[in-house]
């Protein structure tokens, strides 16, 4: 899932400064799962905003609405009524949601309440870690399910660098050396010989470096 974190209140207040009516828009997708921008978090942020404006003695209306997902036109359109009432839409969705609301309501002023961080998974309740770099050309079959593009600080594709020490990365001792993990995993699986196959330099044009990407499925188009 896409993992994001709420911006500091001081920044959010700056972004909505001057508005007389703010719509805090939540998303029922990823941000609900990792508790950054779902219905409950919308309620908390709305409460904090109300408190702030009460202390400032400014009559600012706070509207709230959470849709199933902010990355789907049918759901984003459900925000229409509240978007029309608000001076600013404070989206608690990931970067995709913020943009989608703006795209579908070109007259609306949409600002993000979150900083979108990475595509990752839950390690334990309250801890999420980056796993996928969305590189567009997955080689996880060669590395025992451990991604060298993201989990190796240098994105090396053919084994560890000289800085790998005691299974840790030289960039940060808290980071496991991905290639150590890959080697151990492949050894365990009895598939070490797959690592002998040299991976050529990555075609980064398939990743973000080639510009914004699009996927089209002709078979499901209406």
């Amino acid at each position: 899932m896409i993992v994001a974190e709420r911006k500091p209140m001081e920044e959010i207040l700056r972004l909505v400064d001057g508005a007389k009516s703010i719509l805090v828009a939540g998303c029922g997708g990823c941000v609900t799962v990792h508790m950054a921008g779902g219905e409950k978090e919308v309620e908390v942020l709305a409460s904090l905003l109300r408190m702030h404006y009460k202390m400032q003695d400014k009559p600012v209306e706070i509207l709230t609405q959470t849709v199933t997902r902010q990355c789907e036109p049918e759901y984003v359109r459900e925000l229409a009524e509240n978007v029309a009432k608000a001076d600013v839409v404070l989206s608690m969705g990931c970067g995709v949601g913020v943009q989608f609301i703006a795209e579908h309501f070109p007259q609306a002023w949409v600002v993000p309440a979150l900083n979108t961080k990475f595509a990752g998974a839950t390690l334990e309740a309250g801890v999420w870690a980056e796993r996928c770099g969305l590189c567009g050309e997955c080689i996880l079959y060669k590395t025992g399910g451990i991604c060298p593009v993201i989990r190796c600080s240098k994105s090396l594709l053919n084994g560890p660098c000289g800085g790998s020490q005691n299974g840790k990365c030289e960039v940060n001792p808290d980071i496991d050396c991905a290639w150590q993990l890959i080697f151990d995993r492949m050894k365990n699986l009895g598939k070490l010989e797959l690592l002998l196959e040299i991976e050529p330099p990555k075609d980064w044009s398939k990743a973000r470096d080639g510009g914004p990407r699009k996927v089209i499925r002709e078979d499901v188009r209406l």
Binding site: M9, V44, S47, M51, M55
Partner: protein, 182 residues
């Protein structure tokens, strides 16, 4: 007769069948905020804190009438929305009282509450209301005097801090003055 700072007024409240109950009422406010009577909301768990409050009552222990107690099945029920709502509705101070760590009836509810209270303290600091107005306490159901002590401690803390910045302007929320509170 005018209220003087430090003067303690004693009211006699009649109760049918039960005789007379004494309630001591301090109208001192504090030096910085004369006449201010804090409104405190206490979220107390059924198994320990609320029981202790009940025991304090049975033991006729005096504690400030400023504290309004809300019973929960477990402090693990508290969430940030609930704690923030208490402040929005007019509380000057809020505390969550649960079982001793390790003794929660639901095993770890009080530990969850502890983390959530810490989180909301941070939010209250971020927004300028002040995290010192919110606290977590642990006690067991036999600790009637401790419940009263906590109530006193929190009331004095909030008395010194003054009214919540949310209450300084006109109109409080639904945490109203009650007849005895004044």
């Amino acid at each position: 007769m005018e209220d003087k700072p430090g003067e303690i007024k004693v009211r006699l409240c009649g109760r049918s069948g039960n005789g007379v109950m004494l309630m001591a009422e301090e109208k001192e406010g504090s030096a910085a905020f004369p006449g201010f009577e804090p409104k405190i909301v206490a979220f107390a768990c059924y198994y320990c804190a609320y029981s202790a409050a009940d025991l304090a009552g049975s033991m006729r222990i005096q504690y400030p009438p400023n504290v309004r107690i809300i019973e929960l099945p477990c402090t693990g029920k508290v969430n940030p929305q609930m704690l923030l709502a208490a402040f929005e509705e007019g509380a000057d101070g809020v505390y969550v009282a649960g079982c001793m760590e390790g003794d929660c009836h639901f095993l770890r509810g009080n530990l969850r509450a502890k983390r959530r209270v810490q989180y909301v303290k941070g939010l209250l600091d971020e927004i300028g209301v002040g995290g010192a107005r919110l606290e977590m306490y642990n006690l067991s159901s036999s600790m009637g005097p401790r419940f009263a002590e906590i109530a006193r401690e929190m009331t004095e803390r909030i008395r010194a801090l003054g009214p919540s910045p949310l209450n300084k302007k006109a109109g409080a929320g639904r945490v109203q003055e009650d007849a005895a509170g004044g």
